[in-house]
């Protein structure tokens, strides 16, 4: 019951909770998002309700798949992903560093996501004004990671 923090009852749309004579207490719906991405154990066995979660909610991952580092986790259930790249200046035959920030929805299935972690995001339908991506894979930053510019 700890997931009922809102003023309306949080539940998965796809699941009917009140079938008569059915003893299984926790009926939970989850899906395989495809493209070889594994659904986290927390999504299958957890109790959170998130309609924007790619594994237990009503969003499909299609279109672009991008990776980046986590720049900020201060928002509720969403993160800012920073993608760095090099831009070539033809006159000087040299490169310059540029970056773009992407707002991505972070499902409660991913626990312990911190600034600096590497994250894979997949494109989905618009979830809010700026969010069109959803986190589908999370990889912790290596302990010996340098502060220098990293390119993948």
């Amino acid at each position: 019951m700890s997931e009922q923090t809102e003023r309306s009852f949080q539940k998965q749309e796809a699941v009917f909770l009140n079938a008569k004579g059915v003893s299984k207490k926790s009926t939970r719906w989850h899906k395989d998002i495809g493209l070889g991405y594994k659904t986290p154990a927390e999504a299958i066995s957890g109790t959170y309700i998130d309609k924007k979660c790619p594994f237990t909610g009503n969003v499909s991952i299609r279109g672009r798949i991008l990776t980046g580092t986590v720049a900020s986790t201060k928002m509720k259930r969403t993160i800012i992903v920073r993608r760095e790249y090099l831009h070539y200046i033809t006159k000087y035959q040299r490169y310059e560093k540029r970056h773009k920030n992407i707002a991505a929805h972070l499902s409660p299935a991913f626990i312990g996501v911190e600034v600096g972690d590497i994250v894979t995001v997949g494109q989905c339908r618009p979830l809010s004004k700026t969010i069109r991506f959803n986190v589908i894979k999370h990889q912790k930053k290596h302990a010996k990671g340098s502060k220098k510019f990293q390119k993948f």
Binding site: E6, N18, K20
Partner: protein
Amino acid sequence: MELRISRDSRHKRSHTGAKRAQYRKKRKFELGRQAAGTKLGPKRIHEVRVRGGNKKFRAMRLDTGTYSWGSESISRSTRIVAVLYNASNNELVRTNTLVKGAIVQIDATPFRQWYENRYAQTLGKKKRQPTEAEAKAAEAVKLRSKRALAKCAARNSTVDPAIDEQFTTGCLYAIITSRPGQSGRCDGYVLEGKELDFYLRKIRSKK
């Protein structure tokens, strides 16, 4: 469209915070219309012509809807009595406005009749001794052939005690799942189990 409500994002700041300059006027395809604010009362529905020539039925006043009793898998058309709770806005409760997601009280008689027909039992526990009228009703419910009674007995007639209690008052708690301002209907399902507990607590804590 006289009110000029538009649903564009051109008037909003971009993701970086930059103010976007206006470079074109409002277009008809990004129009928005006034909210219906469907109230309880004798049915009054306005038809609206929408994009593509299609129709939307803007219910201005409604008093009945089709509600499903999920665990029994039946639906009945019933009268809506009152709006009890709205997660978004208390004002909508005070003004008895019907919107999707509002918790309402519905007339329980069609469901009670169906139940008594199917299971040959009465609903609603009564702590005191049943009056003569109620005893007669219980008898009438049992008036059928032995084979029919055996079939009724074989069915699973268990009902959640929280719902049983509601039958004594004659009103069930239900939630609206249709959009009255779009479809012109106020349909939904009867609240059961954890969801019922959740909303009952919310309603009581407000009183």
